[in-house]
């Protein structure tokens, strides 16, 4: 129980968050000091976000926090909601996750920065604009002020968000999953920025499930599991000598720590693409690309998001037409034996259907036996009780395993895993990957593994295709923005 001595600290003592169903977060005690950032690790649903929201004072309706949260000596929890909100943007500022969604799609970036000066700090329109330019310059977006979010890359959006927190220049900065959805290169960029904040003497409180980020930031690390703080201490201690089993698992789950998979001797080619080319929006994604995936082999396609990895996979699967070039699939194999694993598991299931129903229909469609399904479910270590839930009610890891089971029911010869683990918690990512490898070994399945995680590819793939076109960013972001908006994408 180290209660803050320094008036500038953030100290959380005995924090619990409870909803109608009872406590969700129990007795969490942490503190953040200048130059000593705090990083909370944990899988989604572990309650780490709730802790952040409790500090922010933005808990969802129906949830209440108890305990003490002292910032600059005052107990935040004691203050009424209205007063706490006054603190937003002044004493506490938030670095949102997936900033390309957190920025107003209909407003130019400069405006979104300037309005903090204008309406939070009550500066003149003129001055606000100038300061906004400075803030943008600080993060290297000097010329981006007139852009709309959908015209910017994820990295630019992320930097814009940081510029906004600069504008509010508050004592405490809460970074909520700041690297979610970013690939390795951008992730490191964000970490750098956060380090600068720390150096600038701000209190930085980061929420993430990415051990690498936690390690890079240093300071204190807390590990949360099921609403409890199971491990807490200086970064190097926690990372080098984890005490709690979950922490161990978490660290072990980082692909960087895995040992490399021994390449199997490849069987007959299952899918072959020759001289493939694809352009989108008049700009070529790739040209003259030859690729071959053989039975029992894992071929990784690596590159930043938007470089055309997924498109390549879809071309090989026959979901998208190739601009030019030819695709050959193993003769005599029915199309249903070429399957795909999706990046976002919930989006890959009909939202209104229970898992059981989905699988039963599939079994029925292809005249298989339910026993086979049950066997697979058991093999993928999935509980029977999950069958009667809807996709929205199951954790991403479990759901991804169901997706795998669903595909395996049809004895696929080829599986296109499209960022299949990028949205999963490290632990469940590891589980899924291990299962996948097992199946490859046993069934000689050919896998096309699309990922932006170089480490992962490096560890499990026999071969890797590198597609590197950062320039491809703009269009992809534009597309994201569009699909979230009104107009259809392509």
């Amino acid at each position: 129980m180290n209660v803050a001595t320094d008036m500038r600290d953030l100290s959380i003592a005995g924090l619990s968050v409870s909803g109608g169903a009872g406590p969700i977060v129990r007795d969490v005690t942490l503190s953040v000091r200048p130059g000593q950032p705090l990083t909370l690790l944990g899988e989604s649903g572990s309650g780490k976000s709730l802790v952040a929201q409790a500090v922010m004072g933005s808990l969802p309706p129906g949830l209440t926090a108890s305990g003490h949260i002292r910032l600059a000596g005052t107990d935040l929890l004691a203050a009424p909601a209205a007063v706490r909100r006054k603190g937003w943007g002044r004493t506490i500022s938030l670095l949102p996750q997936e900033p390309w969604l957190a920025l107003d799609p209909t407003m130019r970036i400069a405006g979104q920065v300037a309005e903090v000066h204008r309406f939070v700090h009550g500066r003149s329109a003129q001055e606000s604009r100038l300061r906004a330019e400075e803030n943008l310059a600080e993060v290297g977006l000097d010329r981006a002020g007139t852009l709309y979010p959908f015209q910017m890359s994820g990295g630019m959006c992320q930097r814009a968000a940081i510029a906004i927190t600069h504008a509010s220049d508050s004592a405490l900065l809460i970074a909520d999953e700041p690297t979610k959805g970013l690939d390795a290169a951008l992730r490191d960029g964000v970490v750098e920025r956060l380090k600068q904040e720390i150096a600038a003497g701000r209190l930085v409180f980061t929420i993430t499930h990415d051990v690498a980020v936690a390690g890079a930031l240093g300071g204190m690390i807390g590990v949360m599991l099921d609403g409890r703080l199971v491990d807490y201490g200086p970064a190097e201690e926690v990372l080098s000598a984890p005490t709690h089993p979950y922490t161990k698992a978490l660290l072990a789950a980082d692909p960087a720590t895995w040992q490399r998979r021994v390449p199997t001797q490849a069987g007959a080619p299952v899918v072959t693409g020759r001289a493939l080319a694809k352009a989108y929006g008049g700009r070529s994604l790739f040209e003259g690309l030859d690729i071959e995936v053989s039975a029992g082999e894992i071929v990784a396609v690596v590159g930043p998001s938007g470089c055309g990895k997924t498109t390549l996979g879809n071309i090989l699967l026959g979901l998208a037409p190739a601009g030019s070039g030819t695709v050959e699939r193993q003769g005599g194999v029915p199309p249903v034996r070429f399957q795909k694993l999706y990046q976002d598991p919930p989006a890959a299931f009909a939202p209104h259907q229970t898992i059981r129903r989905a699988l039963a229909d599939l079994v029925g469609l292809h005249g298989l036996s339910w026993g086979k399904a049950e066997a697979l479910i058991a093999r993928l270590r999935l509980g029977e009780h999950l069958l009667d839930r809807r996709p929205g009610e199951i954790s991403g890891g479990e759901l991804q395993r169901f997706a795998l089971a669903r595909g395996l029911l049809l004895d696929p010869v080829f599986l296109f895993a499209d960022e299949a683990t990028s949205r999963l918690d490290p632990v469940s990512q590891k589980e899924v990957v291990e299962l996948l490898l097992e199946i490859v070994r046993d069934t000689g399945l050919a896998v096309l593994l699309v990922t932006h995680d170089g480490a992962l590819a490096d560890k499990i793939a026999d071969r890797a295709v590198l597609l590197d076109r950062p320039a491809a960013w703009v269009s992809r972001r534009a597309c994201d923005a569009l699909t979230t908006g009104l107009a259809p994408c392509f």
Partner: protein, 312 residues
């Protein structure tokens, strides 16, 4: 932009042709003796007789084959002339000027008032879904939606003209004549637009960028104004477009209740009295208005939503 305009013009032309032809065909296909209808329209039941009808038939050459009559229409149309009303004998364009003009004024006023009611109520409801404002809004909208406009109009007349004596129950020409019929229509519109707005706002309020705007520390009013309204307006605008069209033509009862010289009233008479040029002219005008309105809506949405701009 230029291509956009050209496309619109093409669409306008197409609509004009199709609508005109369709209305002509339908009118021709109608049962009953047109001359009789026209005569009744002209001379009223007291003076109307079979002989009168014969005179009309002769005068208008109604017994000519229909292709000839249609070609006439096309030819005059090519000269941007809509012909003359068979009943009043006045040029259709003149009639439209008065009646369509009046309707447009009425529609504009109604839309304005409904904007002051519907979206406002919608925003209040949408910011706190299932709050009291939302429930109240739902109740109001449902009851307004389910009461025939003429009943609504009558109630308004009783309140504002008889009890309060502020406004005239009927008539046209001055602003005060416009208020009651416009209000009657506006309430009906607001009933729906408030719900559309509510859903739009509720959707925006759920969006992460809205939450972030709050977390930035902006005052609630600013959050709503700068990050709520514009975004919510995007779907609402395209809905209001449709409403505007419904307005211009869907008001016949209000017109007759308030003795307001609108296009709906004219259309009813024209059809009952088999006044083909009038029907065609009206349909044509309505079609063009539709094209114009949709063009405006597109422009407005593009202005509201930069993503659409870049998409075009």
């Amino acid at each position: 932009m230029r291509r956009f305009l050209l496309a619109r013009l093409a669409q306008a032309g197409l609509v004009a042709l199709v609508v005109g032809t369709l209305s002509f065909a339908l009118m021709r296909a109608l049962p009953g003796d047109a001359a009789m209808r026209i005569a009744a329209g002209r001379y009223g039941p007291d003076a109307m007789t079979g002989q009168a009808a014969d005179k009309v038939r002769l005068e208008l050459g109604l017994d000519r084959p229909w292709p000839a009559q249609f070609l006439d229409w096309l030819e005059t149309l090519a000269r941007l002339d809509l012909g003359h009303s068979l009943v009043t004998g006045a040029p259709v364009i003149e009639e439209l000027k008065v009646q369509l003009g009046a309707s447009l004024w009425l529609a504009a006023a109604a839309l304005l008032i409904s904007l002051a009611i519907g979206p406002v109520a919608g925003v209040l409801a949408g910011l706190r879904p299932t709050g009291w404002a939302d429930r109240l809004g739902l109740a109001a909208s449902v009851s307004l939606r389910a009461v025939p406009p003429f009943v609504l109009g009558l109630v308004l007349i009783l309140v504002f003209a008889i009890w309060l004596g502020w406004l005239p129950p009927a008539g046209f020409g001055t602003a005060r004549d416009l208020v009651l019929p416009a209000l009657t229509l506006a309430l009906g519109l607001a009933a729906v637009s408030s719900r559309v707005t509510r859903d739009a706002v509720a959707a925006v309020a759920r969006a992460p960028h809205f939450a972030f705007a709050r977390h930035k520390g902006l005052p609630e009013a600013v959050v709503v104004r700068r990050h709520g309204l514009r975004n919510a307006a995007i779907p609402v605008v395209s809905y209001l477009g449709l409403q505007a069209i419904y307005l211009v033509e869907g008001v016949v009862v209000v017109e007759s209740l308030f003795a307001y010289p609108g296009i709906g009233h004219a259309l009813v008479h024209a059809i009952v009295e088999r006044d083909i040029p009038m029907v065609q002219g009206t349909a044509l005008a309505m079609g063009l208005i539709f094209v114009a309105v949709t063009a405006c809506v597109d422009a407005a949405s593009a202005w509201l939503d930069p993503r659409l701009r870049s998409a075009r």
